[in-house]
């Protein structure tokens, strides 16, 4: 798909990164009472210390997600 400037849609949007666009984040939360909490073992056992969360940094590459 090409616009009148001859750029592909992807190229156009990358070139227009400074243009306005919106980001949508879907958030689903289910509260678990502390006494019912069972670790699902997807993180390591030190997770409750909190700082481990930094090691599990999951970075979303903004442009790749939206425009790849």
């Amino acid at each position: 798909m090409r616009n009148q400037a001859g750029l592909s849609m992807i190229q156009y949007e990358l070139a227009g990164f400074s243009l306005m666009y919106q980001v949508a984040i879907e958030i689903k939360i289910t509260y678990i009472p502390d006494e019912d909490y069972v670790d699902n073992l997807t993180w390591n056992s030190k997770k409750e210390t909190g700082f481990v969360g930094i090691l599990n940094v999951h970075i979303f590459n903004f442009e790749k997600v939206l425009y790849k």
Binding site: Q22, I25, E26, I27, P33, N40, G50, F60, V65
Partner: protein
Amino acid sequence: MATQLNAMDRVLAAQRSNQDAATSAPTENPENSASYTWILQHASKLTDPRYYSPPIRAGPYDWNCMVLPPTRDKPYLGIFLGIEESKLLPVGWRRCCEFEIKLLNQKNPDMEKVNKSRHRFTQYVFSKNSVSCFQV
């Protein structure tokens, strides 16, 4: 093109849903669950170092999502889940939840980024400017 339209329809539907203040999801106990789609408009022009979603009530507590916009040095979008006003909670507080955070791809749903897990938030969780949060 049809895929793009479908994805946009989902976002528009989510916006309408948010406007209706419908934050409950059908589960065994609806009061313990919440679903919210946070729309950040004009994302390329965000200038603040971080942005917070409105409080999301799940169970007896309010949660929120924090976004760190991309910068010149860090060209990525950081998404965090946290406890609303955690600095006001008593020492030793603990909050547990199961969460699913999805960065919607408005062009291709197959490329959406999803992170689903559970976590026990405590006062020791990564704290930045007194906001306890957990990067997802």
